[in-house]
C-alpha cells in the first residue's frame, strides 16, 4: 500500500473508551461510505413508493385510453368530455379536463408512470421474498451440514453437485410454463387448487417465488456451510463446548452472529440477480400475469418499437437499472464494512 501503515493501537482503531461489537464497527464503516448509504436510501425510497403506489399515481395501472396510445412523456392531450372526466390526480378530478402522462403512455394508452410505479411492487416483493426464502433454506441446510458433518454433509454436497449442473433459466422457464398451464386449466382441487387461487390473486407472483426460491438457496447454503466450517474449530467455540453449551446454543449464540456479515453481503449482492430473473421471465411472457405491470414485461412491450417510442423501453429500463445499481452500491459498501482488511483502504 502506498500510505504509511500505522502500528495497530487503540488510537487508530478508534477504540478509546469502550469496545464495539463487530456489527457496530461495520455500521460505522458503512455510514462513512456515502455512495453505499445513498444506495440504501434509494432502496428505502423504492420500498416506500411500492407501499404508497396508489397514493402517488395519477391513474390506475389498468386503465386504458386508446385515444392517446404511445404518447410521448410530459405531453398533455385534450380528449373528449367523457374521457376528460376520468382524468384524476390522486382521486381528485383535474380542472383542466385533460390527460397528462408524465412518462408517456404505452400502446394501450395506459399511463407509463403509474405502471412503472406499480412495477416497484413486483420487483421489491421478488427481492424480499426470494432473499428470505434463499436465506432461510440456505442457512438451515448450510449450518446443519457444516456443523454436524458426516453423512448429512455428504448428502448435501451431492445435492449441490446436482444443482450446479442444472441450467437454472431453462428449468425455471419450464416450471413457469407448467404452472401457468395449470393455472389456465384451473382444475386442481385441495391444496393445489388453493395454491392456484392464491397465485391468481397474487397476479402469478406465488409461482414465480417458488420457481426462483427453489433453485437459488444453493449459493447461500454453500456460503453458510463454509463459514460454519471456518468458525466451528475456533477457540471460542471450543471454549463454549468445554463448559457444556448445547449445540443449539453454540449455533445460535456463537456461530450465526459471526456469519451474519458475509451472509448479509452475499444476499444483498444476490438480490439484483433475483430482480433480473423476474424481469427476464416477465420479458418472455412467463412472469406476472397481465395487466399487472412488471418492468420486464413493460420492456417486452416496448423493445420492438424502440425506434419510434424509445420511452416505452427507457422508462422501465432506467427504473430497473437504478434499483439494481442501488443494491450493488449498498452490497459493495456492506462488504467493505464487514471486511476488516478493507479498513483504511479508502
Amino acid at each position: 500500500m502506498s500510505e504509511a501503515t500505522l502500528p495497530i493501537s487503540p488510537v487508530n482503531l478508534g477504540m478509546e473508551s469502550k469496545p464495539r461489537s463487530p456489527l457496530q464497527n461495520a455500521w460505522r464503516e458503512f455510514r462513512r461510505n456515502q455512495i453505499a448509504v445513498f444506495g440504501g436510501i434509494f432502496i428505502i425510497f423504492v420500498v416506500l413508493v411500492a407501499f404508497i403506489a396508489p397514493l402517488i399515481t395519477p391513474y390506475d395501472f389498468r386503465t386504458q385510453n386508446t385515444a392517446v396510445s404511445r404518447s410521448k412523456p410530459m405531453t398533455g392531450y385534450i380528449v373528449s368530455e367523457t374521457q376528460a372526466e376520468q382524468c384524476h390526480w390522486n382521486n381528485t378530478p383535474l380542472e383542466w379536463g385533460c390527460t397528462i402522462y408524465l412518462a408517456g403512455s404505452d400502446s394501450l394508452g395506459r399511463d407509463l408512470f403509474s405502471r412503472v410505479v406499480y412495477g416497484t411492487r413486483v420487483s421489491i416483493s421478488v427481492a424480499v421474498i426470494a432473499s428470505v426464502v434463499s436465506v432461510v433454506i440456505g442457512v438451515i441446510i448450510g449450518t446443519i451440514s457444516g456443523y454436524f458433518g458426516g453423512w448429512i454433509d455428504d448428502v448435501f454436497m451431492r445435492i449441490v453437485d446436482f444443482l450446479y449442473a442444472i441450467p437454472v433459466l431453462p428449468i425455471i422457464i419450464l416450471m413457469q410454463v407448467y404452472f401457468q398451464a395449470l393455472a389456465r386449466r384451473n382444475v386442481a382441487a385441495g391444496l393445489g387448487g388453493y395454491l392456484l387461487e392464491l397465485n391468481q390473486n397474487m397476479g402469478g407472483l406465488l409461482f414465480l417465488f417458488i420457481a426462483i426460491g427453489v433453485l437459488n438457496w444453493i449459493g447461500m447454503a454453500r456460503l453458510a456451510r463454509g463459514q460454519v466450517l471456518t468458525y466451528k474449530n475456533k477457540e471460542f467455540v471450543e471454549a463454549a463446548e468445554s463448559v457444556g453449551a448445547s449445540h443449539q446454543r453454540i449455533i445460535f449464540k456463537h456461530l450465526l452472529p459471526n456469519i451474519f456479515g458475509p451472509l448479509l453481503v452475499a444476499e444483498t449482492l444476490a438480490i439484483p440477480g433475483y430482480i433480473f430473473l423476474e424481469a427476464i421471465l416477465s420479458f418472455i411472457g412467463l412472469g406476472v400475469n397481465p395487466p399487472i405491470p412488471s418492468w420486464g414485461s413493460m420492456i417486452n412491450e416496448g423493445y420492438q418499437g424502440v425506434r419510434s417510442n424509445a420511452h416505452l423501453v427507457l422508462v422501465p429500463g432506467i427504473a430497473l437499472t437504478l434499483l439494481t445499481l442501488a443494491f450493488n452500491f449498498m452490497g459493495d459498501g456492506l462488504r467493505d464494512a464487514f471486511d476488516p482488511r478493507m479498513r483504511g483502504r479508502k
Binding site: D161, A165, P167, L169, I173, Y178, I280, I299
Partner: protein, 323 residues
C-alpha cells in the same frame, strides 16, 4: 489431473441422467401436446392417434424415456414433432454454433476489456482513474442486458446507424463448426449483441481482477520481487497477475451460467436464431425431444465449463492438487 477430469466426467453421468429424466417428465407433464392443432384447427382425433403412434408417444413414459436415451447414446437427439421435415440434430446444428459464437465472443470481449481495466485500476489505486473504473464497472454490472440491448439498438442502430440491429450475420455450417467467418457482414451484425452480452461480463471481470491484484500486491513475494530490482512491469505481469486471476477463475462457473442465461435474452432481443430463442419458441409447440435435448446441451456446457474452471484453477495455483 487426467484422472481428476475422468472422475469428474464419471460423476457427471448420473447427474446428466437425472436432469434428462427430470426434464423429460416435466415436458411431458405440460398440458397439451404437439399434435393438438394443425394450422389453426384442432387436429382430428384419428390423425392425432396415428401421429402419436408413429413417434411412440402412446407408449408408457418409461418406455419413451429409455428409447429416447438409447437414441441419445447413438447421437440421435430425436425427431421434431411439428416441423417433421427436420429432426432435432438439424435444429441443434443450425442454432448451437450461433449461440457458441455469441457466448465465446462475449467472453473474449469481457476478458479483453475487463482484465486490463482491472489491472490499471489496481495499479493506480485510489486515483481518479481507479474511481472512474470502479464506478463504470458497478454500472456495467448493474445494467441488465435486457435494458442494454434496446439501448444499444437505439444509440448505435437508430441514431448513429452504425450497425444492423437484428439477426446474426452468417448461418452455419462454419469452418471447424463454430469459427466466425471474416466477413464485414458477420462482424457488424455481431457487434451489438456481443456488446450487450459482454459488457456485464467485462465489468464483473474488471472488479475481480482489481480486487485480486490489490490483494496479491501486498504479498511478501511481490516485495521480494521488487527487492531483487525487477522492473514494475515484470513484477505485475509475471509475478502478480497469475495469482490475481484466481478470484476471476472462481467466478468462471457462475459466469458461464450467466452467459447461457444472458444469451437467451440477447438472442430474443436481437432476433438471433440461437439455442435460447429456439428453446423458448419450441415450448409453445411442445417439441418434447427438442426441449429435453436443448436442456441437456445447456447442462453439458455447464458441467464441461465447471470442469475446465477446476483445471484452470490448478494451473493458476499449483498449491491446488486434485488427487
Amino acid at each position: 489431473m487426467i484422472k481428476f477430469v475422468l472422475r469428474r466426467i464419471l460423476v457427471a453421468i448420473p447427474v446428466m441422467f437425472a436432469i434428462a429424466l427430470a426434464t423429460f417428465l416435466m415436458v411431458q407433464a405440460l398440458p397439451g401436446g404437439p399434435f393438438d392443432v394443425v394450422g389453426f384447427r384442432a387436429m382430428p382425433e384419428p390423425i392425432r392417434e396415428i401421429l402419436e403412434e408413429r413417434y411412440g408417444l402412446n407408449e408408457p413414459l418409461y418406455v419413451q424415456f429409455f428409447s429416447y436415451l438409447g437414441n441419445l447414446l447413438q447421437g440421435n437427439l430425436g425427431p421434431m414433432l411439428r416441423d417433421q421435415s427436420q429432426n432435432v440434430n438439424d435444429i441443434v446444428g443450425q442454432t448451437f454454433p450461433v449461440s457458441i459464437q455469441l457466448g465465446i465472443l462475449s467472453l473474449i470481449l469481457g476478458l479483453v476489456i475487463g482484465v486490463p481495466a482491472g489491472i490499471i485500476a489496481a495499479l493506480r489505486h485510489n486515483s481518479a482513474i481507479d474511481a472512474t473504473a470502479t464506478f463504470v464497472a458497478v454500472l456495467g454490472v448493474s445494467v441488465p442486458n435486457l435494458v442494454l440491448g434496446p439501448v444499444l439498438i437505439l444509440i448505435f442502430g437508430v441514431y448513429l446507424d452504425w450497425f444492423p440491429v437484428a439477426f446474426w450475420g452468417a448461418d452455419p455450417p462454419f469452418t471447424l463448426y463454430f469459427l466466425p467467418p471474416l466477413t464485414i457482414d458477420f462482424w457488424t451484425h455481431a457487434a451489438l449483441p456481443v456488446f450487450a452480452l459482454g459488457t456485464g461480463i467485462s465489468a464483473g471481470i474488471s472488479r475481480l481482477t482489481r480486487a485480486g491484484l490489490l490483494e496479491v500486491m501486498s504479498e511478501d513475494y511481490i516485495r521480494t520481487a521488487r527487492a531483487k530490482g525487477l522492473r514494475e512491469r515484470a513484477v505485475v505481469l509475471i509475478h502478480a497477475l497469475k495469482n490475481s486471476m484466481i478470484p476471476v477463475a472462481t467466478v468462471m462457473g457462475p459466469l458461464l451460467a450467466g452467459i447461457l442465461t444472458g444469451s437467451l435474452v440477447v438472442e430474443q432481443i436481437f432476433a438471433i436464431n440461437g439455442m435460447g430463442r429456439k428453446f423458448i419458441s419450441s415450448i409453445g409447440s411442445r417439441e418434447y425431444f427438442l426441449i429435453t435435448s436443448l436442456t441437456l446441451i445447456y447442462s453439458v456446457l455447464l458441467i464441461g465449463g465447471n470442469i475446465m474452471v477446476d483445471v484452470m484453477y490448478a494451473w493458476l495455483d499449483p498449491r491446488i492438487r486434485y488427487d
